[in-house]
Symmetry: C2
């Protein structure tokens, strides 16, 4: 049931050429699955998180595009944040923003439903690389800044967590709301930790 | 009033030789205050957060040592996490754990009460360095692992956030509980982002 729903949703968002999850186009992450399990342990990921996140998917998925708008609204408040989805001279780049948006929305759904397997790990690593000179702009052939400094990628954990938390209150309450919020916090933190690993040899991009 | 309370609390925890906040012993962070303001914007820090966190201090401070115990309990579940407060051969190192604990508790209080000024920035950067070969073990003359891999430092954002969130429910409710939890999430994320910056030239420590 959850799986079927996910497939419907994926059809809804998977219209961007750059969404290559699970395909041969995704390079293998230098982090291993054992590394991922250790990162998950440090993030306090629990056995019940996968089921809670699967149940969160029908709450978050209908709002996924709005969530992206909310996040971009936060970035839009500061030119040094908005710059990374604009042209290099700071002019708006609506084509780029439009092209990358469904991938970001799909990421929310993938966070709720995807197995934490090699495909997941590899794709998160690629998302990290897509914030760096390694691969930024490549998926969309965009004309934009060469990289997003790691400091902003890390700092953005907070709004990514809080926007999820707020919406989760629409589908959960009490102790279960606390539990699903914690599962979301952990999932976001693990994903961004994998993204950050892509920056390890590039101190000029911190 | 808040300031006075803070001073009382600081007296309670400030008995560790390594707690050097605001002193000449703390090196200047290579991140500037302008960098910090930009990181705060990316973390969605709001003007009201400082007041909310100041009001959180009387809720969290009496539990600060317990919070450290809870976090360490999570780390203790895995040898590869517990290793970093143990001896290099994996044997427990209670002297080190004991020496560093009041600083960790004090960090919670500082998160709630300290101005985000140069002293705060410099001290967070030093905390980052204290997870690395740059300064790990130095404050306590401890015999332990040379560094904590950055991946664990980042992943630990999640338990740092969730343990705070749980306790905040003891002093806040409704929309105000949401707001103070967001303020805590943002504060933790900003602090750990500054810590992470200390790793930028050390890919072998990721």
């Amino acid at each position: 049931m959850t799986h079927k729903f996910t497939e419907v949703r994926m059809t809804a968002y998977d219209h961007s050429s750059g969404y290559t999850y699970g395909t041969d186009a995704v390079p293998t992450s230098p982090l291993t699955l054992e590394d991922l399990r250790q990162i998950e342990a440090a993030a306090h990921v629990q056995p019940g998180d996968a089921e809670l996140l699967a149940r969160a998917e029908p709450i978050l998925a209908p709002h996924a595009m709005e969530m992206v708008d909310t996040w971009r609204g936060i970035l839009a408040q500061k030119t040094y944040l908005a710059a990374h989805s604009a042209h290099p001279d700071g002019q708006p780049n609506p084509e780029y923003a439009q092209a990358s948006k469904p991938r970001f929305a799909q990421w929310i759904i993938d966070m709720c439903t995807r197995e934490r397997d090699q495909a997941w790990l590899d794709y998160q690593y690629l998302i990290g690389a897509r914030h760096m000179t390694a691969a930024k702009n490549a998926a969309d052939g965009a004309d934009s800044t060469p990289f997003v400094p790691l400091r902003y990628v890390l700092a953005f954990i907070a709004p990514t967590v809080e926007v999820g938390h707020r919406l989760l209150a629409e589908g959960f309450e009490g102790a279960e709301l606390d539990a699903v919020r914690d599962a979301w916090t952990r999932a976001v933190t693990v994903a961004v930790t994998v993204w950050a690993y892509a920056y390890r040899d590039h101190p000029e991009q911190f």
